[in-house]
Every structure is written in C-alpha cells, then in structure tokens.
Symmetry: C2
Subunit: 343 residues, 2 copies
DNA sequence: CTGAAAGCGCTAACAT
DNA sequence: ATGTTAGCGCTTTCAG
C-alpha cells in the first residue's frame, strides 16, 4: 500500500503538506495542492484510516444500531442513513442488536468502545437505562430515531398523533364501529410504539364521542400474517362487526385486506382499512395510510449527526443531549381502501 | 478513554504483557493473564481499534457490499452475515452500492482502500471487470455470493438447476402449458440470475419434450407488482392459457397468486404457481418454491472469510481465488400452490 | 514468561 | 505557506 511519504516525495513537499492538502485542514497554496493531488491520484494513494484516526481522533465512521435487518421498516431507514453518510464520505459500521442478551450487551460494552466511530445512530432501539448510560459514556454524538429519550438527542415521530390522524380519517368518513389491530392493552410496556398508536386511536374515538369496545380490539404482531389472523377474527365471529379497521402498521393492514377479501368483503364498500408507515407495498394494495417517510428519517439522522460532528469540530457544539426531541413529519395518504360509510 | 498503560500499571506488568494477555497471541502465565484481565475489566478497558490496527495490520472488521438494503433477499443475506461476524467478534462496515455510477466507483477506489477492513464480502453484486480488478488489488480475502466469477472466491447457487427443479416439479404434476414470468429473452445480459433461471426453465421443458411457446413468456421486474401485472396478462388475454406459472422469484409468484385470485382462478385447482427464493411470506401464501436459504448464505460467506483470515494468519492460506466456486444448497419446498393437473 | 523499545502511518502543534 | 517533530495507543521483535 502506498503511503504518505511516497506522495510527499513525488510532489516534492513534506508529509505535513500532503496531509494538509488532502484533508483540507490548514492552508496550502493552490499550486502545491494541485501537485499533491495529482501525485496522490497517480499513485493511487488513499489515507490509511487507522493511522489517520489514531493521529487525529477522527474516524470518518458512524456506528449504526438496528434491531432488525430483515424487516422492511428498519432496512428502509438504514438505507436512507447509508446513502446520506456515504454521500458525505463517511463509512458506516453496522451493529445488529439481536435477541441474544449477551450479544446485545457486548455491543454496548465492547464493540462500541473500540473507538471505531465518531458518532452513533440508534434506529428504533428501545434502550434500557443502562444502555443509554453506556451510550452517553462514549462521549460521542448520538442520535436516536424513536424515543423520545430525554437523555439523548432524538428524532421522533409523534406516534400518538399519527394514530389519531389515521383514526380521525375513519371517523370523518362516518365510521363508528372501528376495530383496532395492534398492541393489546396489556402489551409489554417496554416497546412504546404500539402502545402510543393504540392511545392515539383511543383519543380520536374519545374526541368523537365514540366509546371504546373491547370486542373490537384484536392483538397482532405487526406482520402481514398477524394482521390476516386478527382480521379473520374480527370479521368472522358472530356479533358486532366493524365497518372499518385501524391497523397499527401497514403490514397488518395488508394482512387485513387479504383476510377481508378471502371472506368475501369488498374493500372499501363493505369495509375500510387504514394502516400506518408508508410501506412500499401500500401503493400496490391501494392502501390508505399515514406515511412516516422512513427513508427520510434515515437521511435526517445521518445529516443531524454529521452536522453535530462538524459543529463540534468547529468548536460550536449544538444539539446537546436533553434538548427537545426533534419531530419527524408524517402525512395521511388517502388511497383506495377507505371510503365513506354507506347508510 | 482508559489506555493500555493504565491497565499495565494496575496489573503490575508491562504494556507488552497486557497486549499478549488480552489478545491471546504469545504466552502469558495463567496468573498474570488473570490479573491483567481483572484489571482490564475493572477499568472498563477496550483495545483501541485504530491503534491496534495500525500496529498489527489487523482490523477485526469486514467490509460488506450490497446492491440494495431495502429488498428482502439482500437484507436477509446481510442479516445472516452480520450475526455470524458479530458472533466471532468482528465489526462490519457496510457499503451500499447505489445506482449512482460515481458513488459506486468511489466505493472501489476510495472507501475500500482506506485499510479499514480485513476482508470483503460482496453480496450478489454484478461486478464489472474493473471492479473485480480493484477488489483483487486490495490484496485481501474476498468472498462473492453469486457469480460464479473465476477471478474471485465465490459461493454460488446453481440458478439454472434451481429453475430446472422448480419447472420439473410442474412437469411432474402433469403440466404442459407452463408460463414463465421473469427475464425477457432479450434481457440485459449483465444481470445473470434472471437469465440463468430462464435457461433452467427452458432446459426442463426441453427435457420433457415440451416446445417453448413465446406467448407464455411475460417479462417482469421481480417485484410483487410486476408478478401481478404479468399474471394478469397471461391469464386475461384470449387464446392459449397456461395451467401453471413458473415465476423466477417468490415476490413475482406472490403477485401472480394475487392476480389469479382477483380473476377468479382457484389455486391450485385451476392454476399452479411456483416461485424461487424462500421468501418469508411464502409460508403465509402457502407458496411452493425452491428455497435457497438466504440467511444461511450470509452466514456461510462470513464463516468462509473468517476461516480464510485465520488460515492466512496461521500461515496456511487456503481458498485461493480462482478455485472452484463453492456450491450453495437449495431445496424444493412443496406447499399449497401447486397440484396435479386435472384432466 | 516478561520487559524494553522501535515502529505502524498519519496529524498537529510549533517553527520558520 | 510549508517543514520539523513529537506523539496517537498499540503490537512485536529482540533480549533476557
């Protein structure tokens, strides 16, 4: 591998000048810079990241924590993050937090402490107090998508408001008998999103003066299959039948659509269905949803952390932890699975 | 950040001994090792990756190239790779090759040359000659999933055989009028998988003495929506109608299933459908498919590269490039979308 | 089995 | 604007 002295020799300058010319830190005359750059290019020189990191303390690398790699939502956010980071010349090292507690611990106690990264982005991770503390001890910029977590900088979408919006849409269309597919009321309180979405659903009903009916709740696990099963229950059992279904994720909404179709219900004539997320399949299924722009979330997190890094570098730190959570946008997308209730 | 001398001081030994005790390279008495380990643990010491890499030339980090992050197949392979690497203490830095040619170039010319990784795994990337050459110049172990590429170590599934197997299944069930959804014959030859699958399909038909019929080919783009559209064409237009559909991916097969249902065909009574891949939704849709175990592919690639690294380290390099491509397993999974043709 | 010391390849004062 | 030089925090001979 060609090293910096070789470039220096070819350009007829010192290694310090090569470093300055190539990194853009410190002044170098235009003519020397040109000479250095051409020498570097012709030799195929690229700065060694470990040598540079060791000397400068900067790695040009961001650690990204994800809970799942193979689920649409997370991989889409990650995709946004990856492209934004790469655009700005940063590498990304990926930490996939698995169910294995021991392995998860090791990410916080070992992997992240190798001084391999300049900052950390945590994508929709439900962080324990200890984990949050480990992150803070890193003394690195951290951006969490999700939360809000008062001890970290967060980008968060207001899940209560999102669910309220979806439900209000149904109410506006005249629906009263609206079922809920998502977290059961006694759901694990560690995982907040499903609970928030249920709360938003209930708020919208309450605002409209519609009493909640336990028989219209059906728990499911956020997959297509889970939504399918839940909808089968809701639509198949005798007694009160909903005219609309609120599904706490698009995947479950799609499952519900499939179930309705299989039972012979026409959507949206006999049944309206609304989801949440902005899933890529939503368009195909003509699904009405509240889009939360996951790709954009990933990009924003990347930009936020790089901005913080640059500000820190320039000596004007912004984005202190503990600040107000930054709010992420969302939008109701009305497509073909919801319609006015026929009287 | 606590450094190695602190640990050395606490344990009452030299930094060299700390290094040896913690890395396991070179001999250290059991009692010293124990003292060092406890000092390290109590101080929360973790080796600095840049310092260690600079001194040793080893990074404990593998670069992973993927063409898409947000498509099921690739993110599943990646998931397998990530968990296997993490299990063995390796970090993974992710390079998402986008459509942007310039950015793609920069991955090969710059990002990968930063000496940040000990090896590279390329997941289903169609590498150009120049790119292959850049990879070889890195002088690092490289494993490509896909190919085969005679200039690289590859793990490849025999796509021709896979498609043949799926088609033979249909033939065995008595089908003659079998449609093909996938690459059109004049498809971009740069991207091999769709073409291989079409060839396997044709071989199976030829073996069974069934002439290929152009009207039973419908091109599609490997998405659910693409499969849906293609199946609508095949099943909706007047003239000869297939009794079975071979879809070159599970996603297209699922689209075809949905289209069939919408047109009122019963599956498998009126129409058999087979896919390829082993998609997570296959079970839900009762889809007959040829599974290629993407999670396992990712794990195998990780294990292969780590084995190569260890062998190299131990001075017994194996897995030279140019070797025979290692074959990946696949298996016909017969579920509910295929049945014997009714006469 | 352990310690001393010489780098690994770069960056960042400090000079000039 | 550029060069000199002292590290950055480890690993690895080389001695002992």
């Amino acid at each position: 591998m060609v090293s910096i002295d070789e470039v220096a020799r070819h350009a007829g300058v010192s290694t310090a000048t090569v470093s300055r010319a190539l990194s853009g830190r410190g002044h170098v005359s235009d003519s020397t810079r040109a000479r250095v750059e051409s020498a570097a290019k012709s030799l195929g020189y690229v700065v060694s990241s470990s040598a540079s990191s060791l000397a400068s303390g900067r790695t040009r690398n961001i650690g990204v924590l994800v809970p799942f790699l193979d689920r649409w939502f997370f991989s889409t956010v990650l995709s946004g993050t990856a492209s934004a980071l790469m655009r700005r010349g940063y590498d990304i090292t990926l930490y996939n937090l698995t169910a294995d507690r021991e392995q998860r611990r090791s990410v916080f106690e070992t992997f992240l402490r190798r001084q391999r990264v300049d900052g950390v982005i945590a994508i929709s991770i439900e962080l324990g107090d200890e984990e949050t503390e480990r992150l803070r001890e890193l003394d690195l910029p951290v951006i969490a998508i999700g939360g809000p977590n008062p001890r970290l900088s967060t980008l968060t979408v207001d899940d209560v408001a999102v669910a309220r919006l979806a439900t209000e849409h149904l109410v506006t269309l005249g629906h009263h008998d609206i079922a809920h597919i998502g977290a059961s009321p006694e759901f694990d309180i560690d995982f907040h999103i499903p609970t928030h979405r249920r709360q938003g659903f209930e708020q919208a009903l309450a605002d409209a003066g519609i009493p909640a009916r336990p028989s219209l709740y059906e728990p499911a696990d956020f997959t297509i299959e889970g939504g399918f099963r839940a909808a089968k229950q809701l639509l198949g059992r005798p007694g009160e039948r909903p005219t609309a279904i609120f599904a706490a994720s698009d995947e479950m909404a799609i499952g519900a659509l499939l179930a309705a179709r299989e039972l012979g219900y026409r959507v949206p004539e006999d049944l309206s269905v609304v989801g949440i997320d902005g899933h890529e399949l939503g368009e195909f299924f003509r699904l009405t949803t509240v889009d939360q722009f996951p790709l954009g979330q990933g990009e924003r997190a990347a930009d936020a952390i790089l901005d913080e890094l640059e500000a820190k570098d320039a000596g004007t730190p912004n984005g202190l932890p503990g600040e107000e959570p930054r709010r992420l946008p969302f939008e109701l997308i009305v497509r073909g699975t919801t319609a006015r209730l026929d009287h």
